[in-house]
Symmetry: C2
DNA sequence: TTTGCTTAGTATAGAATTTAGACAAAGCTA
DNA sequence: TAGCTTTGTCTAAATTCTATACTAAGCAAA
């Protein structure tokens, strides 16, 4: 009667690692090194290890470090997926996280096991990983309509036209330049980097910006959203 | 190496059952009938039972039925809480759900074990239940700024002034009547109940509305949010 | 060196949306 | 029947958003 069948539940953590490549959202997949599905591309993930992890968020950080060799600037719990059918080993829960990284942080030459796959191209995946990825993409696109989330897909510094392009590729629609700049200004999370301009192109140089110090780990929300629809 | 220490993880589900009482949000607590914390007020919850539950959502439905004796019109996964310290029995995860019910669905005389407690009055609770409740309240208030969520706190039928009052008590600010009605109209999820008016008060009777048939289990989102701030 | 091209960044006017206030509608009470 | 109250709608003013135009500034080619 005391601690019954819940001992039969397998407890794992999976991470949806997202970044922009060639203007579209990609997810990082790894070839699994053991059964089930050994050799198959899947989300980085694994068992929660109580002796190593203070909580599941720690476990997600550990997965990213061990399997993709990086510390993500943005990591958020997505949802928990559960049931009998999703894992052939038995009734399981997977606490899913998603991470956003700028492209330069994912050094694919140093991590030859990692494969970047466009999220919008349907593909068979083991477990319910396709569903988990779909939920993460949905969450990112939704949050991009009213928050500063996409900033985490940019590097340390970026120009406003670059940032606008990132928003536009996530939202799948073009944004009004004046409105976009007004809203970034209202968010009040960016600061120009004095004297640093994007040069080398045949036009007026664009100002480089960076996140203000206090906003490294904290989202900012717009009052009225960014897109028109 | 195969299925390691994750067997040592305790897997539970907790439900934050919310309703409006006297114009403010209340959470339903139950007196625990076994250790740890036997006799203490806590969230309805319990172990996931793989032989009974298809998934954790089923488990949450079961908790509501067994412990509070009701079927909630709205149930959504909130987040998963985890770690060594939150449960004296050991490293645990709790997949938390939240439910919204109209006041008349919670028959406290038939369920004498259930206690309704205002969410804004701080109170010591076992486990990390205070944190879980805070997250649920935060989620409900946040979603109320841009969605039809508060409708689930009303009964089968309600007038627009009643619904506006529900929004206002959740958001903690008064809303513009014209804007509120325009946005409810844009959501296009309510229909007037022909001929049914709220009578018995010393003023012009208000029209009763209900959710349109297709929207019983589905949220609708505003383009631009409801509140002004 | 100069001309032309391209994109950055800003100003402005017109369009669209939101809000505050006014007011008629309609039932209850006295 | 008069007066009170809240519902539901209309309208004008305030605010916000968008399209367009225009200057800024660097590169490339003549």
């Amino acid at each position: 009667m005391n601690v019954p069948d819940s001992r039969n539940v397998i407890c794992t953590v999976d991470v949806v690692l997202l970044c922009l490549k060639a203007g579209s959202l990609h997810v990082a997949l790894l070839r699994r090194d053991h059964n089930p599905y050994a050799g198959v591309l899947a989300l980085p993930g694994g068992f929660v290890r109580p002796e190593l992890d203070q909580n599941t968020s720690d476990a997600a950080v550990r997965m990213l470090r061990e399997k993709a060799g990086l510390e993500s600037p943005y990591l958020e719990q997505l949802a928990t997926f559960s049931g009998q059918a999703r894992d052939p080993r038995g009734w399981s829960v997977s606490i899913a996280y998603y991470a956003l990284v700028p492209p330069d942080l994912l050094d694919l030459t140093a991590q030859p096991d990692v494969t970047l796959v466009p999220v919008d191209v349907p593909r068979a995946l083991p477990f319910d990983h396709r569903e988990i990825i779909a939920a993460a993409v949905e969450r990112v696109r939704s949050k991009s309509t009213y928050s500063s989330l996409p900033v985490y897909l940019c590097g340390e510094r970026f120009t406003l036209p670059q940032l606008q392009t990132v928003y536009e590729s996530l939202l799948g629609e073009s944004l009004n330049k004046v409105s976009f700049r007004r809203k970034m200004d209202e968010l009040d999370i960016l600061e120009p980097i004095q004297g640093e301009m994007e040069t080398g192109r045949a036009n007026r140089p664009a100002q480089y910006y960076r996140l203000k110090a206090g906003y490294r780990d904290q989202l900012s929300l717009c009052n009225r959203g960014l897109s028109s629809s």
